[in-house]
């Protein structure tokens, strides 16, 4: 069924009787060519592109709960390609280009809104680093502008310019960055994948791998054994748990990132702002809630909730940056479990087990990567070679020393 304004009107006039389920509810078949573990944004996108772009057949997405229930439904909805390093920026720029055409591609309005992202700088050293980054972005085909304090003030007159502990000196503006309605991304890819014949199987948890002679044969699940020629794990937050069933230890820790939303407000913050002197970034949803976040809690956890010190730290930063937020109320907070990798960058790679592939380690950057991660995983599954923008995302890079450390924090996941 094709969605359109006309269709909405027609259905409204006929009692909405014609709407069909967005994806089929199917039982697993005995065997597939491809099994993708994880019905999140990445897994669904990979299935979609594998079927549509790479001609894959007999594809299943296995989801232990309900699709979109992981980080694609728990993030702060930001998309951007404002990375510094060569290993990253081409990938995220590829992703942003896919975002820009997503709605037409999927015939689903995920509300991709390129409202602009402004990274504030507060010191000369930060401005120099922003300049290096902005130049790297432009050299990689992305967009960037360096604003001075007056330029920032014109865009965001309500920031704290006059009574700030750390004055705003300028900002790096990435106009093509923005926000997307996060749940709709999962639903849109699910619907698209389903239309291309992908089986989306909910409430189906993988409990083990069947591996024979170093080759993958299939997966054990709560709904029985499912044979597969190729299996990909795309379960950010649970990567270590799943891959440990294949005997692998990963360069990943699981951490919680809290996210927050305020009560709904009339238009307040036009774009996305990140504070450079504290842990705070913020945008406003189409419904009016200010969606914001900050640092991860910092300890290993699989519990999807955080604690007060980080809540207070984030909000101290927020009110320091935007004093008018003092009387705005925090409505809800929640937590998502991040695959925090050892250099802050992800993996899309084969494993030492033939036919077993791994996509993970996305830290808090997985959402913006969704289209490209799906595409590149599909590329790897279909061709057994990495996509040209994802060649650096190797599992063995810590052994080789070819690290992709955007923040320069070293092997400490909670600092990335």
């Amino acid at each position: 069924m094709r969605y359109s304004g006309f269709r909405v009107i027609k259905e409204a006039l006929t009692g909405h009787r014609g709407w069909k389920p967005a994806w089929r509810d199917v039982a697993p078949q005995a065997e597939y060519d491809y099994v993708i573990i994880g019905g999140g944004g990445h897994g669904l996108a990979a299935a979609y592109y594998l079927a549509k772009q790479f001609g894959g057949k007999k594809i299943a997405v296995l989801e232990k709960g309900w699709i979109g229930g992981g980080n694609v439904g728990r993030n702060t909805t930001i998309i951007r390609s404002n990375y510094l390093l060569d290993g990253n920026e081409p990938f995220y720029e590829f992703s942003l280009k896919l975002w820009e055409n997503l709605e037409q591609e999927l015939n689903y309005n995920a509300m991709v809104s390129q409202r602009g992202i402004l990274n504030l700088v507060h010191t000369d050293a930060q401005r120099d680093a922003a300049r290096r980054r902005g130049n790297a972005m432009i050299l990689n085909g992305s967009d960037a502008e360096l604003l001075d304090a007056d330029g920032v003030r014109k865009m965001y007159p309500f920031l704290n310019f006059d009574n700030a502990r750390f004055p705003i000196k300028g900002g790096l503006l990435h106009r093509r960055g923005g926000t997307v309605r996060h749940d709709a991304v999962a639903w849109g890819y699910a619907r698209g994948a389903d239309q291309h014949g992908v089986d989306i199987i909910q409430n189906c948890e993988v409990t083990g791998f069947r591996i024979d002679g170093g080759k993958i044969k299939g997966v054990e699940t709560t709904r029985g054994y499912i044979g597969a020629k190729k299996v990909a794990s795309s379960v950010a937050g649970s990567s270590s748990r799943v891959m440990s069933m294949a005997g692998m230890r990963l360069p990943i820790e699981s951490h919680v990132l809290q996210a927050f939303v305020s009560e709904g407000l009339k238009p307040t913050i036009p774009g996305v702002i990140t504070y450079g002197a504290g842990h705070f970034y913020c945008s406003q949803s189409d419904k009016g809630g200010l969606v914001f976040g900050g640092d991860i809690d910092g300890y290993n956890t699989y519990a999807q909730r955080g604690n007060l010190p980080v809540v207070e730290d984030v909000i101290e930063s927020g009110v320091s940056l935007i004093p008018a937020l003092g009387r705005v109320r925090l409505l809800r907070s929640w937590g998502g479990i991040m695959d925090m990798s050892m250099d802050g960058s992800p993996f899309i790679d084969k494993t030492h087990i033939e036919g077993l592939y791994f996509n993970g380690g996305w830290c808090y950057g997985g959402f913006k990567a969704t289209p490209a991660a799906g595409w590149c995983l599909a590329h790897l599954l279909a061709t057994d070679t990495p996509h040209e923008t994802a060649t650096a995302y190797r599992l063995d890079r810590f052994r080789s020393g070819l690290i992709i450390d955007e923040k320069g924090q070293g092997a400490q996941p909670n600092l990335h």
Partner: protein
């Protein structure tokens, strides 16, 4: 005119208060909420719904209110989305309705309601996609302006907020019958108790009911209990305090509304205080929340929850109208009818879905009947009832008391993602087994709905909680209370309705739930996210269970099989100002001042934030028009004669013990074991991954005593890493460390005349001649007549230079003395800018270069690495990927045109190739104008830089549209041989 004010209640009829709503002045009474005061004045219409802009009035009497949201106060104190039900009335209160265009009565956005059929759940995912560019430019701005609720004033909030910390054995949350009984029980046992109550009065439902206790009045017992608790030193009663979040290990976050009942807080007092409560046990006595029945047009102003209606009548002495129809599925609704009638309100009928509904004198009970519609544009004027026999009847009324049963108030029980369980007896979710550790639940929150059960479970749970802590308590005398069984027939929605609201604030109707089911969004979370059910500011307190029940009907499963929803902190929305507390504005982070700060201020220095430090950036002099004038002068004066700079901010760590040298060997790439006493050595530290992260010096004051310096930025990190090495990696090394950063005021005295200047203040018994105190020497000395001091002959500027340290309190006097004594040398104070220029001129790396991705080799320090010993980072620094041919190397850069600035952050390209990422050769890390070379200069990392001296490269900066040519040179621009250091 307070047409709907009744007699009695807990309001002070002798204390009128004036307030305005939408510009019109009204009168309420002390003890009113804004909602009760508006009702008293006959105002049912208080707001507009989110999506359809339907007229809305108050529905509840508590913080679960979905409809009556207002903008309270004005200017910097404006609070959007404030629930009128929780606003304690004060004289002069100002409130305005929100989410409307034009007046509240004639909201132009009300037109949305006409198109409601097109605006069904999730319609926006299916349209607004063509043409592509229209989304951001046309559709989305329209949606955004229509959406949202209240507005932000954009003025700075003038109020203060506090944070605080409390400790207790038992935190009792809610001071209704269960909470009071619990607090009394625990208080009498001597436990440390905190009793937190959201309301400004203790008592909970006892204040709202006429039929709670049997041998005394509810209020009487509450008063008596409060008096007893107030007299106990071990009990802290906290009214106006909402426990908002349950966190790990018994920590609760609570908001005390210290001054919200006042027009303006008292001077110096906070508006609110956010308490972090450390409880050994917590007892949730948060009561229950009533749920509405969904029926056609059940959202009109005047349709209220039945329990709220009688609370307004009994406690606040108001009624929404003089004639109220009750819609009920249990005897609870009959209580409302009886109480209203006792207050003289007409109850034309009780519409009871039960065929066997009991009769109630004074009104007509329509058994087996249902309300199928309401009428009235801005408030109910009549209801249409379908009788048991299928006929319909219209009944005129001004309000409907809607009673669909009660849900235990589960918020805090779910904050750690614990799942509630279904109770078939009360047809509601009750707390599950996986409560937050240390949390117990009593009373209606646990599904114990009678007053008797609330009192007894409150006391019993307190006893149980304290028993865990080894405190013996016992259930004492409790008042005799009603214990009527709560028989009820679950009834969620009237079938056949066109639009029956489930989630009032977000405008989610029964049909939306059906559509969600039809389109496959059947998991509870899909339902919530697709329809926005429960996502409004009330978190679905009055709607989630009903939504689930409708979905359960559609799927043919039971409600618990269909799923549960949990609540997330905070329990009610919390002002962000409260969570920020005092750490805002200039006090966001502490400020660290250097010892020379006071003096530097007097000199008119310009300061810069370096971490939390404020450092003098430069010292402008009369006649200087730009900062460059000042910085160039400071550099030149230092290089020509002598300059002084406060370098106190560098980290200083005292390292002592027999194994101190061996310990430093583990931390630095280079060796320290053989460093002579009285000598200083420069060192570089690696992270374990082989990346350089800090540099500094270690001065050996004695065989077993070093003073290590770190960069300003890494002082804390280096200390932490040292403790890790000392305690976890090498616990056998006998070494003791402690930070002394703050203890010493330290000044760099640099330039050819630095020795001469120092000789004027160093006490004469200390010989600091070049022979007696050569380069890289260190000594403990005295200055200015016996003041203990430390002198290091080290140089960051590349000149003959020293760093001198005195006790911090003398730092101010010392810099004044240096300036006075140095007059003959034209001594010049210099700031961080000149410091930066001189270090770039010398090619010293700082944070710009030690950016967390560079190795010692990248920095040109490969030869420093001792391979004869182990040090942190040594092994992994040898990985191939960090030692490739052609890797980055720190180089100097000189523009072809001396007066053209090379911007830090520019990328390097070869002169001939293309300008793109693939052709990138490196990047500029630091740049400045060098007055010494009369040219701009820069440092940067260049691929294979060591082998490219003399090459000319393009410095491209497409970000700002600039580009220039520069020559690759040695990073040591000034005195590369270092002769000046040693003179």
């Amino acid at each position: 005119m307070t047409i709907n004010r009744l007699k009695g209640g807990l309001v002070d009829h002798g204390a009128p208060l004036n307030f305005t709503f939408d510009g019109k002045t009204y009168q309420g009474l002390a003890g009113d909420t804004l909602a009760s005061a508006l009702l008293a004045n006959g105002r049912r219409l208080m707001g507009r719904s989110f999506k359809y802009h339907r007229p809305r009035g108050v529905m509840t009497a508590g913080s679960e209110e979905p409809n009556a949201l207002v903008e309270l106060r004005e200017g910097g104190r404006q609070e959007p989305n404030t629930r009128a039900t929780t606003v304690e009335l004060f004289d002069g209160l100002t409130a305005n309705s929100q989410n409307r265009i034009g007046s509240l009565e004639r909201d132009l956005m009300g037109v949305n309601d006409l198109f409601a059929n097109f605006l069904s759940a999730g319609f926006y995912y299916k349209t607004f996609m063509w043409p592509r560019a229209f989304w951001e430019k046309i559709y989305e701005p329209i949606i955004r302006n229509a959406a949202g609720l209240g507005s932000v004033s954009f003025e700075d909030d003038p109020d203060l907020y506090d944070k605080g910390f409390l400790h207790c054995d038992l935190l009792v949350i809610g001071a209704g019958p269960a909470g009071l009984a619990a607090a009394l029980t625990a208080g009498r046992a001597g436990a440390r108790v905190i009793l937190a109550e959201e309301d400004f009065l203790l008592g909970g439902r006892l204040l709202a009911e006429t039929s709670g206790l049997e041998d005394q009045s509810g209020l009487g017992w509450v008063t008596q209990a409060q008096a007893e608790l107030s007299a106990m030193d071990n009990v802290r009663i906290m009214p106006r305090t909402t426990v908002a979040g349950a966190y790990d290990h018994g920590i609760y976050g609570a908001v005390e509304r210290v001054s919200d009942h006042l027009a303006v807080p008292e001077a110096g007092k906070p508006r609110q205080c956010f308490w972090r409560i450390y409880s050994k046990r917590a007892l949730v006595c948060a009561g229950a929340l009533e749920r509405p029945i969904a029926f056609e047009n059940n959202d009109r102003p005047g349709v209220m929850l039945a329990g709220a209606t009688r609370a307004y009548a009994n406690r606040w002495a108001v009624t929404p109208a003089q004639s109220v129809v009750v819609f009920a599925n249990s005897d609870d609704g009959h209580k409302t009818a009886a109480d209203l009638m006792a207050k003289g309100i007409e109850v034309p009928a009780i519409v009871d879905i039960r065929a066997d509904a009991p009769a109630l004198p004074g009104t007509e009970v329509l058994a087996g009947a249902q309300i199928i519609d309401t009428k009235g544009r801005l408030g109910v004027t009549s209801v249409t009832v379908r009788l048991a026999n299928g006929q319909t009847r219209s009944i005129a009324c001004g309000a409907v008391a809607n009673s669909g049963g009660w849900n235990p108030n589960l918020g805090l029980t779910c904050h750690q993602r614990g799942r509630p369980t279904w109770n078939d007896h009360i047809h509601a979710f009750v707390p599950g087994a996986d409560l937050p550790v240390g949390q117990l639940v009593a009373g209606a929150a646990a599904g114990q709905f009678s007053t008797h059960a609330a009192l007894t479970t409150g006391a019993e749970q307190a006893v149980a909680a304290l028993a865990d802590l080894g405190i013996t308590a016992s259930v004492g005398d409790l008042p005799k209370a009603e214990d009527a069984p709560r028989a009820m027939t679950p009834f969620w929605h009237v079938k056949g309705a066109k639009r029956a609201w489930v989630d009032f604030q977000n405008d989610v109707t029964v049909k939306d739930v059906k559509l969600s089911h039809q389109e496959g969004f059947r998991a509870v979370e899909h339902l919530k996210r697709y329809t926005t059910l429960g996502m409004a500011t009330d978190q679905g307190k009055t709607s989630n269970v009903t939504g689930l029940a409708v979905m359960a009907e559609l799927t043919g499963k039971s409600i618990p099989e269909t799923g549960t929803t949990i609540y997330r902190p905070p329990y009610v929305p919390v002002a962000m100002g409260t969570l920020a507390g005092r750490s805002v504005g200039k006090e966001f982070h502490p400020t660290r001042l250097t010892p020379s700060h006071k003096w530097a201020e007097e000199q008119g220095a310009v300061f810069v934030e370096v971490g939390n430090w404020l450092r003098a950036q430069w010292f402008p002099k009369a006649g200087e028009t730009t900062w460059r004038d000042s910085v160039d002068r400071e550099v030149t004066a230092t290089r020509q004669s002598v300059g002084v700079c406060d370098v106190t901010t560098l980290g200083k760590i005292d390292v002592q013990g027999p194994d101190a040298a061996e310990f430093l060997n583990k931390l630095y790439i280079n060796g320290f074991a053989k460093l002579a006493v009285g000598k200083v050595r420069y060192g570089v530290m690696l992270r374990e991954d082989g990346i350089a992260y800090d540099d500094g010096t270690a001065a050996r004051l004695a065989e077993d005593h070093f003073v290590v310096t770190t960069t300003t930025a890494n002082a804390v990190l280096v200390y932490r890493n040292m403790e890790f090495a000392r305690q976890c990696l090498f616990p056998g090394l006998d070494v003791q460390i402690i930070s002394t950063t703050e203890a010493w005021a330290q000044y760099a005295v640099a330039g050819p005349n630095s020795r001469k200047l120092l000789q004027k203040i160093v006490d004469p018994e200390f010989d600091i001649s070049n022979e007696a105190f050569p380069f890289m020497g260190c000594r403990e000395i005295t200055v200015c007549g016996g003041l203990r001091a430390r002198l290091f002959r080290i140089s960051f500027s590349g000149e003959l230079a020293y760093e001198i340290a005195v006790p911090t309190r003398y730092g101010d006097a010392l810099i004044r003395r240096l300036m006075a004594e140095g007059e003959e040398f034209n001594v010049t104070p210099y700031g961080t800018e000149a410091l930066g220029v001189m270090r770039i001129e010398k090619g010293h790396a700082v944070g710009n270069e030690l950016n967390g991705t560079t190795t010692a080799a990248n920095l040109g320090m490969a030869r420093m690495v001792s391979k004869k010993k182990d040090c942190i980072g040594n092994t992994l620094s040898e990985r191939d990927g960090l030692n490739r041919e052609g890797d980055y190397r720190l180089v100097g850069l000189k523009p072809k045109e001396a007066q053209k600035m090379i911007p830090a952050g520019a990328h390097m390209m070869s002169q001939t190739g293309s300008v793109d990422a693939a052709s990138d050769q490196g990047y500029v890390t630091s740049a400045c104008y060098s007055p010494s070379l009369e040219s701009y200069i820069a440092l940067g990392f260049l691929k294979d830089g060591a082998n490219r001296m003399g090459e000319t490269l393009r410095m491209v900066n497409p970000l700002e549209g600039t580009e220039l040519l520069a020559e690759v040179v040695s990073a040591h621009f000034v005195d590369p041989e270092g002769g000046r250091l040693r003179d």
